[in-house]
Symmetry: C2
Subunit: 244 residues, 2 copies
């Protein structure tokens, strides 16, 4: 399995990984604006490590497309791919449809006792908890944690699919999508979240075609919702300059 998908309490041993996630989070949630030049020394101080793990994190983020680096010129935060939003959603639709279909098909075969089976059930259980957690959030007033839960749900489905390569792609795309959303609250959140249960039900039922259809619709609605909200070039990337 790819890097720890679980909130394992590996406090100490996973320094460069932790730094990478922290930096990415800072980029997505606006603490580091596009175009910002990030120096290794500053990041090292910020996260209380030396420059070596910072450099490794920056290389990984470069591969993920969040920063750009040139030799001896340092790294800068990439631009928010606002004008690529629609196409990102289209790719995501194809990708997540395939993932849902695979997850359903995998679910229909019973993994009774082999090792993959216990892994599958563990992820499946986490997803159930995640859905409940999301319901609680949706019922409340503060929708802030919803985007994070949303990503975790979709990554969970990807994990159920058992496809490492496709899951790596989703991780990359969903990061970008969340980046696009980060300047705004997902006001389709409530309805969007309820659709998750439908998808998961189809997967549990082993109905591959239905799972694929529901997931495609779910993502497609997100896309049209995004277009409606940020219509006509008024995309979040345009107005990030307000604070210095």
């Amino acid at each position: 399995m790819p890097p720890d998908a679980r909130p394992r309490p590996d406090e100490l041993p996973a320094a460069p990984h932790r730094v990478k996630d922290e930096i990415r989070r800072d980029i997505i949630f606006g603490s580091l604006l596009p175009g910002t030049r990030v120096t290794e020394a500053a990041l090292a101080r910020k996260y209380s490590v030396s420059r070596v793990p910072v450099r490794e994190a920056l290389r990984a983020l470069e591969a993920e497309g969040f920063v750009e680096s040139k030799p001896y010129a340092g790294s800068t935060v990439s631009d928010i791919p606002a004008d690529e939003a629609d196409d990102l959603f289209l790719v995501r639709e194809a990708l997540e449809s395939a993932l849902a279909r695979r997850a359903a098909r995998r679910s229909s075969r019973q993994f009774a006792e082999d090792e993959q089976g216990v892994e599958w059930r563990r992820v499946r259980k986490d997803l159930a908890l995640l859905l409940d957690e999301g319901d609680t959030v949706v019922a409340g007033d503060d929708l802030l944690p919803l985007p994070e839960l949303n990503i975790r749900f979709h990554l969970g489905i990807a994990e159920l699919s058992g496809s490492a390569s496709l899951m790596a792609l989703l991780r990359q795309i969903s990061g970008k999508i969340e980046w696009l959303y980060a300047t705004d609250v997902d006001n389709r959140g409530k309805q969007s979240w309820s659709e998750h249960r439908l998808v998961l039900a189809a997967i549990d039922a082993g109905d591959a075609a239905e799972a694929e259809r529901l997931m495609a619709r779910h993502v497609s609605r997100s896309r049209t919702g995004y277009r409606g909200r940020f219509a006509g070039g008024k995309v979040p990337g345009d107005e990030v300059q307000e604070t210095g």
Copy 2:
């Protein structure tokens, strides 16, 4: 300012990038088999650098999905995503269709003299050379360099599209696709290569819809070709979605 920026001999300054490309090449072309445990010291010796650039390269390759790492446990080469091949092609089809469409749309707007224009023309010229080079290869007996040229063509189209995020996705996917192909020679090569000119012509004409359609057909044919060649029966999801 003088129009010619001297093509810098970036031999020396780009060490970790070079190592990364080398390792990936070794993985794709079988010198490093899936499951192989790769130690940093050995790679450092092999490429005549210290462990630091090797570690950075491994982190980037981990983000790209070619190796898997666990803290203190080292890195191993990932499995070839053979059973995910069909879905990878489907995602690639959505992705490259969007890229071709964007490239055509961008071509139709004239980039007369601004800076992006010269970049665009440079890439466009490289693509012309690339097509000729591929024709020469196709005319000969040794088709070995064709897969590499193929990837470079598709990445060139992505560059024309001007979409950094989508291009990063393509880089990741095309690596996997090439990995799948690496065990065999692409026997559809000749016909496949000729289709490239059609796509590029549509882009030059600024016909977005046609470029998208041709690219989709091109990738789709690759997909069916792959399925036919590699005993499609083993693919867990065999629903033929007949198009056109």
